[in-house]
Amino acid sequence: MDQQEIQTQQKREAEGRQESTNAARSFIPVTDIFEDNHALIVVMELPGIQRDNVDVRVENNVLTLEARLDYAKYHGLRPLYTEYNVGNYVRSFELSGEIDQDAIRAELTDGVMTLTLPKAESAKPRRIPIS
């Protein structure tokens, strides 16, 4: 079967519950979320973001990602034609299950961040034997 063609998605701007003090715009990374028996897997697209500039945390069952763009690379470049804007990325998700916080793993490869959030023992599904 032929693969379908990709459509360009407009970047969505972040609209936080509270406004941040800086006027620069932040964007919401497109995200896939999967779950298997062991973990929740969150995959986010962060083009142009380097490992050192990403902050991931879980607080009160809310997963938050903040990524800062190193825009120094744009120094000396004069835009002629543009189709997308750049900026920091922010996004947070309320987690439904218990996560083993100490075991969270994060990997950033080619602008794609993969977060593996292992479930806490108490949150893993149990097989119920039928007597």
């Binding site: 800086n22 497109v30 142009g48 835009p79 189709e83 490869t109």
Partner: protein
Amino acid sequence: MATYSDPFSALLALQRALESRFSSRWLARSPSGMGGYPPINIFQQGENLVAIVELPGMERKNLHIEAKENTIRIHGSKNQNDLKEASVHRRERSFGDFDRTINLPIPVNADAIRAEYNDGILALFLPPAESAKPRSIEIS
């Protein structure tokens, strides 16, 4: 005295500069010129052009770039890793094939184009062809 953080206003200035050139007429309006995937920004850097393309999560072997005179073609396929036995909560990323050709208003030196792919960003450094460089005219 409080100083208002310069880094943020620098980012804002960059964002405004990018916005001011949104879909400018600089790139010829051809069927494939606008709105295709992947999204492209084009900059001037000295006498060179630089195209910066957002293409997160590509395998290099699936990314192809061709150039001839003033035409640049970027094509490839973005594939998803299989996640077996996982249930899907949210699916926002898109996958598939892409093929995009842009016509620059000036010819480039195809042999001297340099391409870099880092952090999900493809950067193409496009030196102008000799014929497109300005010459100074001596007044006799």
